[in-house]
Amino acid sequence: MNTGPEGTHHTSSAKVHYRLRPAKNIQRKMLCEAIHRLHAFSPIDSYRYIGFGSWYFGDFILFHRVLGITEMISIEWDVVNRLRYEFNRPFGCIKLEFGASGDVLPKLELEGKKTILWLDYDSPLDRTMLEDISCFCDSAPSGSVLVVTVDAAPVRSNGRPSSLPESRYEELVGRVGEKKVPPDVKGKDLQEWGYAKVHGRIVTNEISQTLVTRNGGLDAKDKLQYRQLFNFQYADGAKMGTVGGVLFREGDKPGIERCAFDDLDFVRSDEMPYRIEVPKLTYRELRFLNSHLPSEHNGGPPESPIPEREFGYYARVYRYFPAFAEADIV
C-alpha cells in the first residue's frame, strides 16, 4: 500500500488480508475480466502491470495467472520491512520498488511500455495521488490502463468525524487544493457516497487536464483520449471508490472499440457508479442458487426461502464471488 511522502497513512498490510474482503475481491476479478478484453487491441501478455502488492500480492497473483503478464512491478512504501516483502513475492517475475509512489513512478520510464497501473490507495484522495495520476497520464502510451482506488469514507479530523458540511468541504480543499475541487461541489455533497462521487470527478478532471497539456504537442491522430471504464463503489468496512479507464490515441480508436467493453454490465463510462453489493449467503444457498444462474436462462429467482434481494445481489456478482473455506494448508 502506498502513499506520497506527505501521507500520514501507512501500509494496510497489518489490516485485513485483501482476499478476505469479498467486495474488493469481486472488484479485482471484474477489473481483470475487463482488462482481458484489451487483448483485441494488443496482446495482453505484452503489457506491464504496476501496483501496490503489499505482502499479499492478490492483484499480482490474479493478473499473472489469468492475463499471463510477466513484467510486474510492486511499489512498496514500507522500506523498513523490505526483507519481508521480498520473502512474500509469490512469483519470480515480480520486481519490488521501494519508496513513495511519487518518487518511484517518475523513474519507471513510463513512455516505453503499455502499462496497467492500479493505484490502490487505502486513504482518502490527496495531492500526492493526483501527482501520481498526472505523472502516469503524461507519459503512458496508447492502450494503457489506469485504475485509482481511494477511501471514500467521510474523513475524521483529530479522531472525530467532521460532521459539519462546511468543515468537510474545507477538509477536502485541504487535501486536494482549492483548484482541484469542482466548482459546484458543496459541503452537503460530501456525505454517504458523496465522497466517492466527488473523488471520482477530481480524478477524472486530473486525467483530462494532463491530457490537454500532453496533446498540445501532438498531431490530431496522435492526440490521447481517456475512456472511463470503471466506477466502482463498495464497502467491506469503510466505503471505497474506484475509477479508471483506458488511454488511447485517436488513431487507435477502432482497436479500442473492438474490445467491446460496453458488453460487460459492470462497465461504467459516467458518474453513475456500479455498486458492488455482497450477498450474505450460506454455502448451501450458494450451491442452490448457482444451479439457477444465469437468471436470464432460468426465468428469475427460484422458489426458496432465500430473500429476493440477496438473490438479486448474487445474480450480479456470482461469476466473481469468492467462496472461502477454512483450510489447513500449513
Binding site: 517518475p106 493526483l130 494532463t210 497539456t213 504537442g217
Partner: protein, 445 residues
C-alpha cells in the same frame, strides 16, 4: 424603420495615434525597448549574413542624458523595406519573414522610439538606397487621420551600388522623456542594461557581433553545466509538425542562488532567465513534482531553446519578455522541462540530505558532494548531447536504517540532575537513559 444613410450606420474604428504612442509603450520597460532596437539590428545582420557569421558587424549604443543613439553596420534598411514594413504599425500579412528573426508583430521599433522621447531621426544607407526620416512626435500626433511618415531624404537607384562599408543605420532619439533621462543618468541603470543585453544576445555575440554600450564592449556569458563520468545533463529535442524546433538541457552548475533556474531562448535570443518561478515549472506538481525554487536548487541549470524560421511560431508575448503562457506548444515544452528537471532536483535533494547527515554526525562520508567536486564546468555548446535523463551518482542505500535520531535542548542544571540520578557522565547517555526508562515503564510491548 428609418432609411439611414450608409455613413450613419458606420462606426469609426480607426485606432488613434494616442493608443500607439501611450498605451503600447506602457507594456514594456525601457531595457526591453532598447532590446527591441538591438533585435532589429540583428535582423539586419541575418539579412546580409544568412550563414550567421557576424564577425565584421557591430552595434553601438550611446545612452546619454540628452540623447539616445543606436548605430549599426548590419546592412542598412532598404528603402522599400522601410516603406512597406519598418515604419508600418504591425506586420503586413504578405510580408516575407526574415528567417530566424524574433520580431513577428512589426511594432518593436516604433514602440521603442515612442517610449524613449519626442523626436526621432532614422538615417539608413543600404546597398541600393539611402533615406532619412525625421519625426517630431507631438506634431505627427496632431494629424489624427494622417498615418504616414515622410522621407526627409530618399535616394533609390537600382543601378547605383553603395559599398558595404557605407551600409549603416543610425537612429537618434532626442527630447528624451524625463524618466528616460533620469535612468540614463544612473550608472547602475547602464550596468543593468549591459547585463540584460549580454544575456539576451549571447549567441549573437558568440557569432562575432560586437555590441557596445557607452563605449563598453559586451562579452557573452558562457552557458555551462557540470560534467564528468558520473554527472551529465539531461537532454530532449523535438521538431513539431509546424517546424518549431525545441532543445532542452537540464543539469547542475555552480552554486549561485541568483543564477540558478531556467534560461529560455527564442531564435537564440534570451527571452527569460534565470527563470525561478512557475513559468518554467517551479512549484508545479504535474506531470511530476518540482518544488518552488530556493537555495537548495541554486546549482540547477536548465536551458530551453525554441527555434523557427518563422518567428510567429515562437510562443512569445509581443514584447519578447515572456512566453505566451497559453500556447499549447509552450505548455507541452514546459511539461518536458519539468520531467527533465526532476532527476537533477532529486539529486540536489539527495545532496542536501547528505550534508545534513554529515553535519549531524550520522554519516562521515559525502560521496555525492565529492562527485560534484570532481565534475568540470563545460560550455553546453561543447557537450555531445544525446536524448536522455540527467545522470548522477545515487544516494547510498545505507541511508535507509531502522533507527532514528532525537535531539533536544534542556537547561544545563536539569541535565546535570538527570545525569546524577542516572549515574552517567555524558548528555548523550542522559538522553538515552531517560528514553529507555520511559520505554520500559510506560510503553507496552
Amino acid at each position: 424603420m428609418n432609411d439611414d444613410k450608409p455613413n450613419d450606420r458606420e462606426v469609426d474604428a480607426l485606432p488613434t495615434k494616442e493608443l500607439f504612442i501611450s498605451m503600447l509603450t506602457k507594456d514594456l520597460v525601457l531595457e526591453d525597448a532598447i532590446g527591441d532596437l538591438v533585435d532589429n539590428c540583428v535582423d539586419g545582420a541575418r539579412r546580409i549574413q544568412s550563414d550567421g557569421d557576424f564577425r565584421e558587424l557591430w552595434v553601438r549604443i550611446e545612452a546619454a542624458h540628452d540623447q539616445f543613439m543606436i548605430e549599426d553596420n548590419c546592412g542598412g534598411i532598404p528603402v522599400d523595406l522601410a516603406r512597406k514594413y519598418a515604419f508600418r504599425f504591425g506586420r503586413p500579412s504578405g510580408m516575407e519573414p526574415i528567417p530566424r528573426s524574433v520580431g513577428q508583430f512589426g511594432i518593436g521599433m516604433k514602440r521603442a522610439l515612442f517610449k524613449l522621447g519626442r523626436n526621432f531621426r532614422v538615417e539608413s544607407t543600404s546597398e541600393h538606397s539611402h533615406f532619412v526620416v525625421d519625426v517630431d512626435v507631438p506634431e505627427w500626433r496632431k494629424e489624427e487621420r494622417d498615418w504616414t511618415f515622410k522621407f526627409e531624404k530618399m535616394e533609390k537607384d537600382g543601378e547605383k551600388v553603395n559599398p558595404p562599408d557605407q551600409w549603416r543605420t543610425t537612429i537618434t532619439v532626442t527630447k528624451l522623456f524625463e524618466e528616460v533621462q533620469e535612468q540614463f543618468g544612473l550608472e547602475n541603470y547602464i550596468s543593468a542594461l549591459i547585463k540584460e543585453l549580454r544575456y539576451e544576445h549571447l549567441h549573437n555575440i558568440d557569432r562575432g557581433l560586437s555590441i557596445e554600450v557607452n563605449g563598453k564592449l559586451l562579452d557573452a556569458p558562457s552557458l555551462q553545466v557540470l560534467e564528468s563520468e558520473e554527472i551529465s545533463p539531461g537532454y530532449w529535442e523535438h521538431t513539431y509538425s509546424d517546424d518549431l524546433e525545441v532543445r532542452i538541457i537540464a543539469g547542475i552548475g555552480e552554486h549561485n542562488l541568483d543564477d540558478g533556474g531556467w534560461y529560455i531562448f527564442g531564435n537564440d535570443r534570451l527571452i527569460l532567465g534565470p527563470e525561478q518561478t512557475a513559468v518554467s515549472g517551479w512549484g508545479w506538481s504535474s506531470p511530476v513534482r518540482i518544488p518552488k525554487y530556493h537555495g537548495q536548487y541554486a546549482r540547477f541549470r536548465g536551458f530551453a531553446f525554441f527555434g523557427a524560421d518563422d518567428a510567429s511560431l515562437l510562443p512569445l508575448n509581443t514584447a519578447k519578455t515572456n512566453m505566451d503562457l497559453d500556447s499549447p506548444r509552450f505548455k507541452d515544452v514546459r511539461r518536458r522541462m519539468i520531467k527533465l528537471a526532476r532527476p537533477a532536483i532529486d539529486f540536489l535533494n539527495d545532496v542536501h540530505q547528505e550534508q545534513g547527515r554529515l553535519s549531524s554526525g550520522d554519516a562521515d562520508e559525502d560521496p555525492l558532494n565529492e562527485a560534484i567536486e570532481l565534475a568540470k564546468l563545460v560550455p553546453i555548446s561543447s557537450i555531445d548531447l544525446s536524448p536522455g535523463s540527467f545522470t548522477a551518482p545515487k544516494s547510498q542505500p545505507t541511508a535507509i536504517r531502522a533507527t532514528g535520531r532525537i535531539s533536544y535542548s534542556k537547561p544545563l542544571d536539569e541535565i546535570r540532575r538527570v545525569q546524577e540520578a542516572l549515574r552517567v557522565d555524558t548528555k548523550k547517555a542522559a538522553g538515552e537513559g531517560t528514553f529507555e526508562y520511559y520505554l520500559q515503564m510506560e510503553v507496552e510491548d
